[in-house]
């Protein structure tokens, strides 16, 4: 989904800033880096960079992304894409808006756990992904197919 948004594998290398190097951030940074993009990943804790796979060949910056100075250091004004995936919704929403309005980053995606907050910020022209919403949807989907198959008569079961 992300690679589609930024032009896919076939296009030229992009400059991508990933904020938050937890499980999701490190995974995204590793994959985008392996696809040949130039990736900078920011986290407050240096130890977070241990999550990065060996595929990752980009840059790491230790810093607080809610500080303008950190974003400038990451040269966000030059970025094609900003992915904000710290574990704090409010940091993600704030940084996404700063990226969009002050650095005019063409593609900004933020993770927001709280579906209520996500709905509000979708109106702000901020592209958000809510893992809570996505999991709920998948659960419902699986549950529905499960119910369909169990309600159908099955052989060999008494």
């Amino acid at each position: 989904m992300v690679s589609n948004l930024i032009g896919g594998n076939s296009s030229a290398s992009k400059y991508i800033v990933v904020i938050g190097c937890g499980r999701l951030g490190s995974l995204l940074a590793g994959r985008l880096s392996a696809e040949g993009n130039s990736v900078v990943v920011i986290d407050q804790k240096e130890s977070a960079f241990e999550n990065l796979s060996s595929e990752f060949s980009g840059f790491q910056i230790v810093g607080d992304a809610s500080e303008m100075a950190t974003l400038k250091k990451a040269k966000l004004d030059k970025a094609d894409c900003l992915l904000v995936v710290t574990r704090e919704d409010n940091v993600n929403l704030m940084v996404a808006q700063i990226g969009r309005i002050f650095f005019e980053t063409p593609v900004v995606l933020a993770r927001v756990f709280d579906p209520a907050r996500e709905a509000i910020y979708r109106e702000f022209d901020i592209d958000t992904i809510s893992p809570t919403q996505l999991s709920a949807d998948s659960f419902m989907q699986k549950l529905n197919t499960h119910q369909v198959s169990t309600s159908a008569p099955t052989e060999g079961v008494a």
């Binding site: 809610s66 500080e67 303008m68 100075a69 704090e88 919704d89 409010n90 940091v91 929403l93 704030m94 808006q97 700063i98 309005i101 002050f102 709280d114 209520a116 907050r117 509000i120 109106e123 702000f124």
Partner: protein
């Protein structure tokens, strides 16, 4: 006025006390249960334990009816989101956020917060004003040279008022320039001094006391 205050520290308590004593209708949102109980005992306010940037908590706090929301936590991101949700979702007309990083002041106002203020900046400028209102301000001790640059304001009792610089008994000290009503004048020997003039004085350290006495009438 209906006010929602989001915060947790002493600032929240004292501001809350001020608002309630003026008869404002106050609701406080504070994250810790224990602090919430404590605040509700001490203030005539509705206190809710919760996250002030959570839409449901804001609604519970009566955001639809609120006239103003103040976000005073020590986390800038929480203050921004609380203000934005209050404004856009619940139509709170006036939002105020404290910013801890002074860089965020302009950013927050651009992002829709009615007023953002930086405590760092306010305290800094207060201290500057405070020192500026004194008659004398030590500007720069010129390192290692035994010379000090000082700013002196001529108060109403200054013996130097109405006298020319050449007539002042300044030894080892010179008046470099005079600031009068915001304009910088090069000090000449024949320049007459007025009340409220600000003088930039360069003096040898051991002559500093004497120069101070000549210009302000006080000191050694």
């Amino acid at each position: 006025m209906r006010i929602i205050l989001v915060g947790s520290d002493k600032l929240t308590y004292f501001l809350g006390r001020r608002f309630t004593s003026k008869g404002d209708y106050l609701t406080i949102i504070t994250p810790e249960e224990e602090a919430a109980v404590d605040l509700s005992r001490r203030l005539k306010a509705t206190v809710i334990a919760g996250d002030g940037s959570d839409p449901t908590v804001l609604q519970e706090a009566g955001a639809y009816q609120a006239d103003v929301l103040l976000a005073l936590t020590d986390r800038d991101q929480d203050n921004l989101i609380a203000c934005q949700i209050a404004q856009d979702r619940y139509g709170v007309p006036q939002t105020v956020a404290i910013v801890n990083d002074p860089d965020n002041k302009a950013i927050f106002e651009e992002l829709g917060v009615s007023v953002a203020f930086s405590a760092t900046e306010i305290i800094g400028s207060m201290i500057e004003q405070q020192t500026a209102s004194e008659e004398i301000r030590n500007l720069v001790p010129v390192a290692g040279s035994g010379v000090t640059m000082t700013e002196v304001v001529l108060g109403p009792n200054s013996p130097a008022i109405g006298r020319a610089i050449k007539d002042l008994d300044l030894q080892g000290a010179v008046v470099a320039c005079v600031v009068r009503r915001g304009r910088v004048l090069i000090a000449k020997r024949r320049s007459y001094l007025h009340e409220a003039d600000r003088l930039l004085v360069i003096s040898e350290d051991d002559q500093y006391g004497q120069a101070q006495k000549v210009l302000t009438g006080e000191g050694a």
